[in-house]
Symmetry: C2
Subunit: 417 residues, 2 copies
Amino acid sequence: MPTLEFFRLQTRQEVLALYDRFAPVGAEDVDLADACGRVLAAPIRAPEDVPGFLRATMDGYAVKAQDTFGASVGAPQYLEIKGEVPMGVAPTRGVGPGESLRVATGAMLPPGADAVVMIEYTAEHPDGTLEVRRAVAPGENALTPGEDVARGEMLFPAGRRLRPQEIGLLAALGLGRIAAYKKPRVAIISSGDEIVPLDGTPGPGQVRDSNAYLAAAQVAEWGGLPLMHGIIPDDFDALRNTLAEALITADLILISGGSSVGVRDLTLTAIQDLPDSEVLVHGVALRPGKPTILAALGQTPPKPLMGLPGHPASAAVVMEVLGRPLLLRLAGASHQSPWGRRVSAVLSRNLAGATGREDYVRVRLRREDATLWADPVLGPSGLLSPLVKSDGLVMIPLGVEGLCKGAEVAVQLFGGS
Amino acid sequence: MPTLEFFRLQTRQEVLALYDRFAPVGAEDVDLADACGRVLAAPIRAPEDVPGFLRATMDGYAVKAQDTFGASVGAPQYLEIKGEVPMGVAPTRGVGPGESLRVATGAMLPPGADAVVMIEYTAEHPDGTLEVRRAVAPGENALTPGEDVARGEMLFPAGRRLRPQEIGLLAALGLGRIAAYKKPRVAIISSGDEIVPLDGTPGPGQVRDSNAYLAAAQVAEWGGLPLMHGIIPDDFDALRNTLAEALITADLILISGGSSVGVRDLTLTAIQDLPDSEVLVHGVALRPGKPTILAALGQTPPKPLMGLPGHPASAAVVMEVLGRPLLLRLAGASHQSPWGRRVSAVLSRNLAGATGREDYVRVRLRREDATLWADPVLGPSGLLSPLVKSDGLVMIPLGVEGLCKGAEVAVQLFGGS
């Protein structure tokens, strides 16, 4: 029977390196209206120019720029107004030397015109003459075809997560459906004889299934689809059968189990009883989070299983530090901006590290005058409330004895903080 | 007919102060499994203690702490093992002086026991004697009832946005349904004779409806429900009727209109034709974003309408700077953490400000050695691509002539960056 002794604690980097063996989930076509936050499964090239025509960006008059050269308030130039360009259609006439046409922002410039004089720098005379008080350069107050995006241009690589502005650009190009990676389906299994459902009343010695709810919310926030598999008693057959069932539909299995040695051993045994299973990690050099399990189940490609520690704060930290990168790997997200979830702050007290483990300390952020302070929120990892009072985590690296009060630290923000 | 001349440009602070007159949308009951990201509509007190019983946080032996006092490797104490506490039920016997019971992490401590000796510091002898090599203090390796959350404790005020850890704590308390503010319904109307639907082929002078898609994605990302109302031509009756129709169901109306003076005037006229309408803002001291409109429609309470500039970059910035706070106001979100969307960086080139306006410059973040640089991404606001290349915005305050290369700046990150 496997025990902790067979494994040495693996570092975060060692665990993350193992994720290479798990493949992103498949792709599906998604309506652009539902695509924000999704990850592209194929690169996108621009199928056409944006804008598709020479376009006014100001209200004013379409002109030949050279007709305005030298114009100033003191020495205006005079042009003939030949009418106006209606919105949304091609101009019915062009602009010849000494001529102009009224244009509104967004209108197409007529043939012969190469710039727009803003209405602020003009006056219309009753005889149809336009007084131009400022010169414009060719292309001024106009967008040339393809200036925003040129046809054939590589826009986004596969793996790019779409933000609102990417959605806007894809809409401008008429790309109403895009190929995105599916949202990874994440089976969440709670195990433990002491766990009762959320709507149950815990008897003596019993607690509600809070870890599963916490993990499911994290999964959903990070772009996965949580599939709740309920509570399994500490029983080999029940656990093994639930794992086998979850494997049919899930891309990732999370077991939110107890932290006792017996329960961990039971989980390992059940994993190893599944065909083509391999326990990759049993114990990580993190504090909190040591009793974490990573396994590969099945073949071509294997599906990952992560066994989370039973203490809620440990499980939440392991999910942030190891679970989120795994989910992003399955979701096909190729790059993750490193600044979106980090903020610099000043540590408000000394912190001792954990020997031989990377230490994650919960902190609350507090702004005082011009300084952003990180106040450690201490408390055993069996408690939820310190996690609720925190905005993020400060990491004390492996091999560092501690961090001093006044040190500048990077705070990894919790989602939604 | 109203024109820009009737209004002076209002500052961001002046616009934000007007939001007080708009009320949060109503509340609804939400399943806890769907509540992450939602905003509490009522404060929550703890209905019970968490944990509900004296609970082991380590594998080991339940003891009377005083029986271990003085124990060390050189001078162990010896206790009698009287059996074990099963998981999930009340212990059937207590611990008397000189006695111990095996417990796993999460188990209930038996009557008489007040601490747990970790298994690492013990040995079991064949005769049922426990050798204890380290003393424990009362309460050590155990959680007392109510230590995480005490019954009656005020947990969260109304207006709190729920993160995964809040969901976990509410699950531990058995609160399976919570009262949350509804997601604000946001009508999105595109106006302009030159706009064609996403799946249309733009003819000469025509463009696709990209601003509506960009705004809808922002709304969804910030917790609102976008309702697409399609494209309305530049026609008074069509615009007025669409506004009246949108008012029936929407909590907020966004008009993504053209930037030409004529279209803005048409929008204003249509707004003013609606009963009990009031134009509050017509022009803001922002660059980009000047031609923004804010109006209050109807009574008890009025509903806000925001008219967005036609240039895509202008509309996106106005949505970030003015639209998001308005949406959060309607969503009942009482406080917004100021650090979650900001990061400090060093400006990589000089930037000139805009006279009389708060200036928002798109920047791309780039890490080089230990420095995070903010590289300005310049380009006319009619372009989408600079927005796509950017990670966030740097603001040059009103009255500041510019920012120098090397200045430390706060970058307001775009959602998803």
